[in-house]
Amino acid sequence: MAIFRTWRGWGVLFAFLILLFTCPLFFSDRVLTIMTMIGIAIISVHGLSILTGYCGQISIGHVGFMGVGAYTSAILCAKLGWPFWAALPCAALAAGIAGLIFGLPSLRIKGFYLIMATIAAHFIIIWVILQLRNVTGGADGMAVPRAEIAGFVFKSKASYFYLVMIIACLATFLSKNIVRTRVGRAFIAIRDNDLAAEVMGVNLWAYKLVAFFIGCVYAGLAGSLLVHYFAFASPTQFPFMDSVWYLGMLIVGGMGSTAGAIFGAVALKLLDELVTIVGPILSTVVAAQAAASLALITRGLVIIIFLIFEPRGLVHRWEMIRAYFRLWPFSHEE
């Protein structure tokens, strides 16, 4: 199936891209920072979308794999003096390999047991980062050089915005295409019924590992971009609950859809921003701890509300709105 069935779809896409890439002209640095963070989240959620949304292998250790990518890139650049453009693919590769290792149990187990294995993966990875104090700086963190390509340093918010958005667009394009290939169809077959998939000749062993590899490559890219943005890497940038939050983005956006990953990441990152604005106000009105508790409660509530009332996510709402306008004045197709 083509990405767009009509030329109008391509037109809308290009209009959107032009708008996106002219954003630094209109917006302040603060808005650009938020958009950069959304871009990084989109890259990460695309990986989770392939692994969990398409292949059905639930992972609650995604942030751990981001940590692997982040620290690989940080160590290569800061300690070994590698250029950023070479460290970024290595970070992705290292995260992918970590994904392969922790994906091994998926060959024997699924469902809850796999979730446990990925949670364990997160804590083991963070522990190893803390232990390798000589290279990673342990809990104190480490300084990371700014991203630099051919002498150009991505120092301003706008330049980093362009870097992240270009990679996010490429990641989206790649992810959209992966799921349309033979590999993607094998993933969907495994998700829908692994036994039937195996009977049809899908090699479960190979394809599950490929799913873990691809998913974690995306995570590694996102992790690397994150620490180069802050020019600092520390284990506190990769908290366990963020893994849950990335799964939440997938649920809110809609599982098994490339657009869903984008919708979810944008919606929940914006919600986070709203909480950081409302939180301090609430803190002064109610109690000092209200800001912290508001963040926790909204995160939990949003996931529960979507699971119960819209399990197919925002992307399903979006399709319904589009269908409404396409079919108007009729209510449904004959």
């Binding site: 926790l296 995160r299 529960i304």
Partner: protein
């Protein structure tokens, strides 16, 4: 030698904590097939409830326990009715995510009401300080052991001799058959959440009495999964046994290996997760679980 024995004894105490958390988890899993990530948070809420009733309200111990149990029943019913029941029959990811979301909300509520601060009420609950030669036995051990054994005994009697207990065991076996036999499955689900909440809250009060309460206390819930997996996900007795094994092993490993590791070790924090990976690769059904895990 004294060092080793002391490690074993404190490990035993830790193991009892794990076992208490795991029991509630196994009950829900057995009856309603839901994996409750929030079980550690029930324990934390229990600790804070115990603090509230004992210290600011100044109630006697028996009244506090009673009130905490009432609160646990209400909490269990609300959680089941508003979050789990709409998701009956949904895929496993939905059920697990909903319990993680619950954990987040419970932590948020604890932060809101109690400020997420460290609250202690030492000396309010009766403690059992014991000393064997040079080794002091922490109160967690004796209290945890007594409560776990009492809980398991009561639950076993409940499951064996009451009609609703029989219904719960039957539901664990096959819910469609149970429904056609005229048993309300929703009641059984609600009851299993209520029992898990009560177990969690009681263990929270006891643990809070020994070591104080704090929001990170809930992280014990994540570690308790190693216990659950090691013991076999559907065996209550296995949970206690595995809890003790894991607590002791974790303490010995941390005691002897931590000095050898750079950055001060902290092996105790990660040991249960290493156990999880090992168990999942070699024996996914645990030590005492039914060999019925979905294999591919």
């Amino acid at each position: 030698m004294t060092f080793f024995l002391q490690l074993v004894v404190t490990g035993f105490a830790l193991g009892m904590v794990y076992a208490l958390v795991s029991i509630g988890f196994v009950i829900i899993l057995k009856c309603s097939d839901a994996f409750n990530i929030a079980q550690g948070h029930f324990v934390m809420i229990g600790g804070y409830l115990g603090y509230t009733f004992l210290v600011p309200f100044g109630l006697p111990v028996w009244a506090s326990l009673l009130l905490a149990i009432v609160a646990a029943i209400i909490m269990g019913l609300l959680i089941e009715r508003f979050t789990l029941r709409p998701l009956v029959g949904q895929p496993i990811l939905a059920v697990i995510m909903v319990t993680i979301a619950l954990a987040s909300i419970l932590e948020g509520l604890a932060t809101l009401f109690w400020g997420g601060e460290y609250k202690a009420y030492h000396g309010v609950l009766p403690t059992l300080p014991l000393k064997l030669g040079e080794i002091s036995i922490p109160s967690e051990t004796s209290i945890g052991l007594i409560v776990s054994i009492a809980t398991v005994a009561i639950l076993m009697l409940f499951f064996r001799y009451t009609k609703i207990g029989l219904a719960m065991r039957a539901t664990a076996e096959d819910e469609q058959v149970v429904q056609s036999a005229g048993i309300k499955v929703t009641t059984v689900y609600a009851l299993s959440w209520v029992i898990a909440c009560i177990v969690g809250v009681i263990s929270g009060i006891l643990l809070g009495g020994v070591s104080g309460v704090m929001t990170p206390m809930a992280e014990v819930g994540l570690k308790a999964f190693a216990v659950v997996l090691l013991g076999g996900v559907n065996s209550i007795g296995g949970a206690i046994f595995a809890g003790i094994i894991l607590g002791v092993l974790e303490n010995i490993a941390a005691g002897y290996l931590d000095p050898l590791l750079p950055a001060g070790g902290g092996l105790a924090n990660v040991f249960p997760f290493i156990i999880i990976i090992i168990v999942l690769i070699f024996r996914p059904y645990g030590l005492f679980g039914l060999v019925r895990i979905e294999r591919i």
